[in-house]
Amino acid sequence: MGPELLARLIDEHAAALVLFARQWCAAPEDVVQEALLKLVVCPQTPDKLLPWLYRVVRNAALTAGRAERRRRRHEAAAAALAPVWFGTPDTAGLDARAATAALQALPPEQREVIVAHLWGGLTFEQIAEVAGCSSSTAHRWYVAGLSALRQKLGVSCPNDRSTPR
């Protein structure tokens, strides 16, 4: 794998990968960096590069998250220290902090599918490979997650903001 492809991956997908890893661990940058380095030392570049990368990031983030929870299992306020996941959008839209909180409140499988599809750009077939489920299941989780988010955020249309419930 050449440095040009690696640089392109970093530029185009690093932010989404970090967001994807942030669901499970507190040091997502380290996880993404290790995943990219693992890709570099792979004897052959995987055919399905993006699903492979997301799967590696997912596994590493889950492992890192478990280790973090073991380290600070007595710290109840760990979730409150989680940073905001999104920058403030230029256009008037959802509040980044509220969106982060709503996403964090979702069941893990729904959140994972939404993040991978909306910000990672993966298809449901690719998400199914990453999450180890069928594409129909992934789509079902996606719809359920969006519905839950709509209820939590109290919006039905981005141009028609309403107050959260």
């Binding site: 932010a15 940058e29 990219l36 380095l37 999104f86 909306l118 719809v143 955020l153 919006v155 981005p158």
Partner: protein, 153 residues
């Protein structure tokens, strides 16, 4: 955004969520590229170190085997050697070779103790020829050599 049909309300929410940009990754791009190159080089460099280590192990094993190799088992054989017979020391007076050949040291000792009389008696001289006279001496060349060209001299 979704490849499958969604409820319009969900589609709007989907668009709104998609407009949120993830926080930029706090990755040091240059450091990551450098580390990637380092690891790639390390991966490619395993062949020669591995071969060197294998050959070193082989050489060490062969050397150890050479040092610790046991020799052939000893063979015990009974060899009978006849006892050597003591040989009597030869008598110097009766040793024929020693007595027959002239002994310089013995002759010297006898000469030193007894003088010239110790010399062995020489064999008798052959019978004497005609007495040596001047005439005989002058005549002999004439018998042995041809006659001179100038008899007058």
């Amino acid at each position: 955004m979704s490849e499958r049909p969604l409820d319009p309300a969900l589609t709007d929410l989907e668009r709104a969520l998609g407009a949120l940009a993830p926080v930029p990754a706090a990755l040091d791009r240059d450091r990551l590229l450098f580390e990637a190159g380092r690891r790639a080089a390390r991966r490619r460099g395993w062949y020669w170190p591995g071969a060197t280590a294998a050959l070193a192990l082989l050489a060490a094993g062969l050397g150890t085997a050479l040092v610790l190799r046991a020799g052939p088992p000893p063979v015990e054989r009974m060899v009978s050697i006849p006892a050597a017979q003591p040989t009597p020391s030869p008598d110097p007076e009766e040793d024929p070779p020693f007595a027959s050949r002239p002994n310089y040291f013995r002759l010297r000792e006898q000469l030193l103790t007894r003088g010239l009389e110790a010399l062995p008696v020489s064999p008798p001289a052959p019978p004497a020829g005609p007495p040596v006279t001047l005439e005989n001496l002058l005549r002999e060349p004439e018998l042995a050599t041809p006659a001179p060209r100038h008899p007058g001299l």
